[in-house]
Symmetry: C2
Subunit: 197 residues, 2 copies
DNA sequence: CTAAACTGGAGGAAATCTCTCCACTAGAAG
DNA sequence: CTTCTAGTGGAGAGATTTCCTCCAGTTTAG
């Protein structure tokens, strides 16, 4: 494959990811091509169907999720509180909204196949990270990996311009409050363990 | 106006509200008419333009918001914790997602006019409710009315089927955790007031 | 420099959406 | 019950959007 062709392919996936996260996966393919600065023909040559493009976007996001998670797992023992907070911040920047909300209709048909495999790997990583996080008392015992990922996806789904303007930094605050809430719940559990009824 | 005509008009607004909340305000008007069980011509006779329909949906939601808020304000003195919780649960059932997320692009042009007036009234009501809620130590002092409304809108925006299936009851849990987080933050503030640094 | 890989975007086909028109249905007043 | 008229539904023309192919021309690698 020629070098410039590969570059264009990457640009297409990146732009598709951006647009999917912003508007859902039903964006016009023409818009993806234009946004990536390539002709529409190039898109169709690289991705046989819309589903193929969606799949690549899904894989890219899952790969990022997995690497962020491994990183956090390595940092956790040193400073649990800080590592956990930094991890969640990374998740926020990850277009999980695109994965869970926008892509899921298209990915539903791909319950088997590479996306599903990548998803299992990533979720397993998150789950094993959560073992340490729970032990550190940062989240309640019943917080699951899938639940965490979907929750972050919901909170960070991009909002229309008017909303962002009406309540700037709202997402950051929401994340702060959520983390505080998880911590509080973990605290309640711990107290119950120490002094059982 | 004939009685049956009025009934159809209401059905149209109700169906539009449902569909806007579910899919954003760019639903096909044909779909709204069909969902309401009336012909497309009836829709166009009642609402001159798409914007007129959107406006009515906005007014309906804002009216519900306001009445829920007044109700809660009346209940608050008797039992703050319970009233606050019940209020938030009501907000969750209110299609605020439709108001903030789906409608805002169309409503942006209506910055003056009936929708804007209704919004100011409703937000003023929420603000005055929050005075009591803050005093009861249930939320931090800097939680604003608009922020609360938009936050609930974000969290309750409807999710695609696949997401709902992957993590059922997630929205309920999110709301629980959020309330716990707000409470915890309010607690921190209170502690700081008692024992200032 | 040459061959082969690769490109862009015009444009036809297909789908979708908007909105009008008018023959008809069914409330309401007497 | 009859009559008058406000109100109805849905076909379909026209406008818009999206999909996808085709090929003359450009760019890279060797």
């Amino acid at each position: 494959m020629r070098a410039d062709a590969a570059r264009r392919r990457v640009a297409l996936v990146r732009e598709a990811r951006r647009l999917f996260a912003e508007n859902g996966s039903d964006v016009a393919l023409d818009a993806v091509a234009e946004g990536a600065g390539v002709g529409i023909a190039t898109l169709y040559r690289n991705f046989e169907s819309r589903a193929a493009l969606v799949e690549q976007v899904g894989l890219a996001i899952l790969a990022d999720l997995r690497s962020a998670t491994t990183q956090a797992a390595a940092d956790l023992p040193r400073n649990p509180g800080h590592a956990w907070r930094a991890y969640v911040d990374q998740l926020v920047a990850l277009d999980l909204g695109a994965l869970t909300a926008a892509l899921s209709p298209d990915l539903a048909g791909a319950l088997h196949g590479p996306v599903s495999d990548a998803q299992q790997l990533s979720l397993a990583a998150v789950e094993s990270l959560l073992v340490g996080v729970r032990a550190a008392g940062l989240v309640p015992a019943d917080l699951g990996a899938l639940e965490l990922v979907v929750a972050v996806g919901i909170v960070t789904r991009p909002q229309p311009e008017a909303v962002r303007q009406a309540a700037p930094h709202l997402v950051d605050r929401l994340v702060d409050v959520l983390l505080a809430g998880l911590l509080a719940r973990a605290g309640v559990e711990a107290a119950a363990r120490v002094r059982p009824t």
